[in-house]
Amino acid sequence: MFLHNLKYSLKTLFKNKMLIFWTYAFPLILGTFFYLAFSNIENSEKLDIIDIAIVDNEEFNNSIALKESFRNLSGENEQEQLFNIKYVDLAEAKTLLENDEIAGYLLVEDSPKVIVKTSGINETILKYVTEEIIQNEDVLTNIIEEKLNSTVIDGSIEEFIQNVREDAISMLDTSSLQIRDITSKKLSYTMIEFYTLIAMTALYGGIIGMTAINQNLANMSNNGKRIAVSPTNRIKIIFSSLLSSFIVQIIGLFILFMYTVFALKVDYGNNFPMIILLSLTGSLAGLSLGLAVGTIFKINENLKTGIIIAFTMLGSFLSGMMGITMKYIIDTNAPIVNKLNPVNMITDGFYSLYYYTTYNRFYFNIISLLIFSLIMIILSVLALRRQKYDSI
């Protein structure tokens, strides 16, 4: 029964042209479109080094993380230089910004702030990088405190301060800390678009699951009525259909990965086990979204497809599909939105895999995806418990 249904479910899914278009062809087309559109931007802007200013006050000089990070990013190695930094006083920074000579300036007072005039891509990069450094500063501080507790016992204070300072700098330099080469070469802002593309495709997989499940339910389709009057266990059939949807989904995602890696030269990093883990978890989230939409709403199948597409598209937009600026705005102004946004969980997962050497943020995304899936599955199970219907 399980295999019988699996076989035919696979057959019907693969032959469903609309479905294959949305879940296979559309992401490939969109990816190609991104590639064409952004490769121009990247080629023309990639080499540009961004002019910025930093207000050279006491607070800035006291912040080891900021100072050393920015020093690195304006480093001597031209290949990797991201910023061209002028260290000035506040008044001059303002004038420079006014005259459009810089994209923005960093002012460290109680907390570090980035002041910009417009919100172009250079401004976003400056903000983003600063944000990253600030976030990582906490980690750095912790490490320093640990050191403090252990070293203070032996040795003088002078010696200690010197040690910590050197340690911190070397940590930043060798990138053993979070920020891995944020350089103009690596910080490709089109990367996020491809991450959202993968995330979008994973959630579009929900259409596959929804289509398959719709055919199993008596209150959703005529074929479902046939299954309902046959001597088969519903749960077995549903599991079998979900498995076939998952297979179709994974194959689609695999094709997209191959295409973006080999044809479009997208770099997802080298951590394959984690990339696979994230892809599978993302697909699971898509599948359970499809299951929920399929089982809960008693509406036309096309409308259900529409709901999944609209939900995914909105999620993709908020997590930066149309430009990293959007993700930045949401992440800083309404972080809760993207914490609840499954597309962003996947996008951010890839992002953190690529930029960070530690897995905290990555695992946070994985767990968020699992929780999202669990909620969707619980809602579906509640809807599926009915065996007889009030009306069909």
Partner: protein, 312 residues
């Protein structure tokens, strides 16, 4: 005769609307039972309740001597259902569609293959095995729909208006197929609002209207209910009012009307009604183009019982 299905006091409401109103009937082994009723009379609702697809307010359904439940797989394995709406996969061809649904009942592949062949033969789709539903005409699609529902050789078959919007050729094919199923030992419940089909096909008929049984019995038994024995139609260019009045006084005449050149007379009973009418018309020197006599139909029964036509 053994009772295969028994429905006792079935009541089903959609919100406040009573779609099935205290329905009770039995189906005996080997018979074709016709459920005849106009659109919206509750035929499909009744079937869906019997099959445990719909919740119902009260009533008891017993099939093969056991109470029907959603997980009564032992009962379900011997039931075949052809729903009113076509239920097939657009993406699968004729053979695959039948194989999928048959496979929900029969695991053994060899036996299943034989069953599929038999089903295809029964509905006459031999030349369309590799066709997809989209490539089939309305009638052929209905035949596929039937094949999917009965390929596993069920002992009890429900057919819900399997001939709606079907060309005469396919209709005859379908009706023949259903007779063959019965001849092979199946018990059949057949719903329709075509009284002609019921008359050709069914051993027994239940007429329902507004969710209630208004009559049941064999075709002949039902026709007796209408109290009409014979209907005579005469095409006459013009007819004197006096003559019409006189015809109304004839022996056995129930009613006589004349409209648009048609004289229509219904007789309650009796013999030689037609010949005495012809004799009379000759006597009064009335010329007619055509004259013919008919037996009453189930529509007359329905008309008599409810005051409205079975189909509008």
């Amino acid at each position: 005769m053994k009772t295969i299905l028994s429905v006792e006091n079935l009541i089903k409401k959609y919100k406040n609307f009573k779609a099935v109103d205290d329905l009770s009937f039995d189906v005996k082994k080997g018979e074709i039972l016709g459920l005849l009723g106009p659109n919206g009379s509750g035929k499909s609702t009744t079937i869906n309740c019997i099959l445990s697809l719909l919740k119902f307010e009260s009533g008891k359904i017993t099939i093969f001597g056991c109470e029907m439940r959603p997980d009564a797989y032992d009962i379900k394995k011997d039931i075949g259902v052809v729903f009113q709406e076509v239920a097939v996969f657009e993406e699968l061809n004729v053979i695959d569609n039948i194989d999928y649904f048959c496979g929900l009942y029969i695991k053994d592949k060899e036996y299943r293959k034989k069953c599929i062949d038999d089903a295809i033969k029964l509905v006459g789709l031999e030349d369309f095995k590799k066709f997809y539903p989209k490539q089939l005409s309305g009638g052929l699609l209905r035949r596929l729909n039937i094949a999917c529902g009965i390929a596993h050789k069920p002992k009890l078959v429900f057919l819900d208006e399997p001939t709606v919007a079907v060309d005469p050729q396919s209709r005859n094919n379908i009706l023949d197929g259903i007779k063959k199923l019965r001849d092979n030992g199946a018990t059949i419940i057949y719903t329709t609002h075509y009284m002609e089909e019921v008359e050709i096909l069914c051993d027994r008929v239940i007429i329902i209207d507004k969710g209630k049984i208004i009559a049941s019995g064999t075709g002949d038994e039902l026709k007796e209910l209408s109290k009409i024995e014979e209907k005579v139609t005469v095409e006459i260019d013009s007819l004197d009012e006096k003559i019409l009045e006189e015809i109304k006084q004839f022996k056995n005449v129930d009613e006589a009307t004349y409209n648009n050149g048609i004289l229509f007379i219904t007789y309650k009973k009796g013999k030689n009604n037609l010949s005495s009418l012809i004799d009379y018309l000759k006597k009064v020197d009335v010329h007619y183009d055509k004259i013919y006599s008919e037996r009453p139909t189930l529509n007359d029964v329905f008309l008599y019982l409810t005051g409205k036509e079975l189909r509008d």
